[in-house]
Amino acid sequence: MTTTSAGPRRALVVRSVVVPVVLVAALLLLGHTLSITNVLTLEEVLGLAVFAAATNLLLGYGGLVSFGQAAFYGSGAYLVGLSWLHHWMPFWAAFVLTPVAGGVIALAMGAIALRTRRLYFALLTLAFSELFFQLVNVRYDFTKGATGIFSVSMIPASLASPRTGYYFTAGVACVSLLILWKVTVSPFGLVLRATRENRERAEALGVSVYRHQLLAFVISGAFCSLAGALFVVWGQSTYPDLLNWTTSGQPLFMAVIGGMFAFLGPAVGALLYQFGYQYVTQHSHDWQLILGAALLLVVLFRPDGLAGVVSRQTWARLSRFARRAGRRGLPPEREPAAMETPIDGAGEAARVPGSPTP
């Protein structure tokens, strides 16, 4: 393989300049032209987009299915909420602290959870977030229990105005997405991807998979926590449901719907999921039937998500580029380069009836 790196480099320019500029312009335009209701929904979507993209750092890039992302999301929201309730600190201080808190929680949680693999990892992270969920529920005097904390004065008056809140959220979301994207294309991100594609080989080359995964977990936790704080900006409330397993499932759905192998896939998924969910719940009492059927159809017929349609080949190209640029001498992938299964390595896939053993 002796292709010049000019191609990928130009691709990088496209990705790091053109895409963000187009997106920011679109967001500004939308914030200006949309009705208040839709601005507010878009604000919610942007928070969820950060949540989903941060989760996808683990899912799509690290091959780690964490079912405990709600622990960070909810912690971020509760940090802001409890700061207000108990007069710990002003909103801005709490807001800035949320990623730190999320990172610290992720460090503790990841240190234990990353000792396990695949499904057990998913279930152990789930157990952690359910523990948080129960703790918030039973400490009624401290957290207001299952009712949650609701007050418009939880956030500064300036942010309570929908458009200001939207622009603020859009700004935070764009910066967060940019940072997350930088992480994914950094040497760290490339090694992370290598650990997803072949853990054993990465380990054989002296990469500490555990440390890389832990760092990814911490980064993901920090941004999920920030997304939780953005939820408070949107909803002026925090309640235990934000820590429940269904909340952990949301960013995973979004990533799958939008496509976990494209950086912006989860964000697109957040947009589609949230608008779809709202539309369906508002227009039909049978929303469960409709949503369930839609989910099933996506999973059966578009398993790599909607963004996958556009970007699967792009992804393959980027992977090849990543291999050349980042792995410095890792042996070439065996053909065929089948879509990797994020939870299972290829080894597990091979044990499923009728699947290829390359």
């Binding site: 053909e335 065929p336 089948a338 009728g354 290829p356 053993t357 390359p358």
Partner: protein, 237 residues
């Protein structure tokens, strides 16, 4: 003719792995399928056994078109595929592995039952209570072949049987193969170890990038310098 493959094509996703392979073998023959790693040997055999779908082409077994048959049907029909690697049912005991295979289907009786298999492989008798996951590579290979025989096949397909085995066990393996040939069983072996395969086969095919590069009888393949250098076996000889 026991096996007749015509213009077989197989894809993995978008990559065209097998690009038109034709292969014929007669009843009672032992045929070796050779080639480097990734040449498509295993894929061809998997496609024949029904484990991988064929995109195009036709596979006939004993005059019957089995191209689209699922693996269990080809197995019941008498085509026994012994996969490569450590593929015993590791949570079951050796005996359970054998009983499972013996009772999987009411196979036409062609003379193989557990007692006879244990007579051929007496070591398995000793190991019968052991969990298959705890067996050595050679023992697992023996177990897999025994399992394959219990399907009472007319054609036994062995995928990379020598992979990971010590030279002593490889020698045993050769003995078993000759024994089975003596029984009149048709055997198709894929191998990277060309010398081993050709030593126990009547004919051989050499695959390269999903196509058949050479086909000839075993002795002439063995002696051909071109083949030897192509397969990189000169050093071994």
């Amino acid at each position: 003719m026991i096996l007749d493959i015509q213009d077989l094509h197989v894809y993995y996703g978008e990559s065209h792995v097998i690009q038109g392979i034709s292969l014929e073998m007669d009843r009672g023959e032992a045929v070796a399928l050779l080639g480097r790693n990734g040449a498509g040997k295993t894929t061809t055999m998997r496609a024949v056994a029904g484990l991988t779908p064929c995109a195009r082409g036709r596979v006939r077994f004993d005059g019957q078109d089995i191209t689209r048959w699922p693996a269990y049907r080809t197995a019941r029909r008498g085509l026994s595929f012994v996969p490569s690697g450590r593929r015993a049912f590791d949570t079951l005991t050796v005996r359970q592995n054998l009983d499972l295979a013996a009772r999987a289907w009411r196979f036409p009786r062609r003379g193989w039952d557990v007692a006879r298999v244990l007579k051929v492989f007496p070591l398995l008798e000793e190991l019968s209570g052991r969990r298959a996951g705890h067996l050595s590579g050679g023992e697992q290979q023996m177990l897999k072949i025994a399992r394959g025989l219990l399907a009472n096949p007319e054609l036994l397909i062995l995928d990379e049987p020598t992979e990971g085995l010590s030279p002593a066990v490889v020698k045993d393996l050769g003995r078993w193969l000759d024994l089975l040939r003596g029984e009149g069983l048709s055997i198709l072996v894929t191998e990277q170890n060309a010398l081993f395969a050709l030593a126990h086969a009547d004919r051989g095919y050499v695959l390269e990038k999903g196509r058949i590069r050479f086909a000839s009888d075993a002795s002439s393949l063995r002696s051909s310098d071109e083949i030897r250098s192509y397969l990189g076996v000169a050093r071994l000889a």
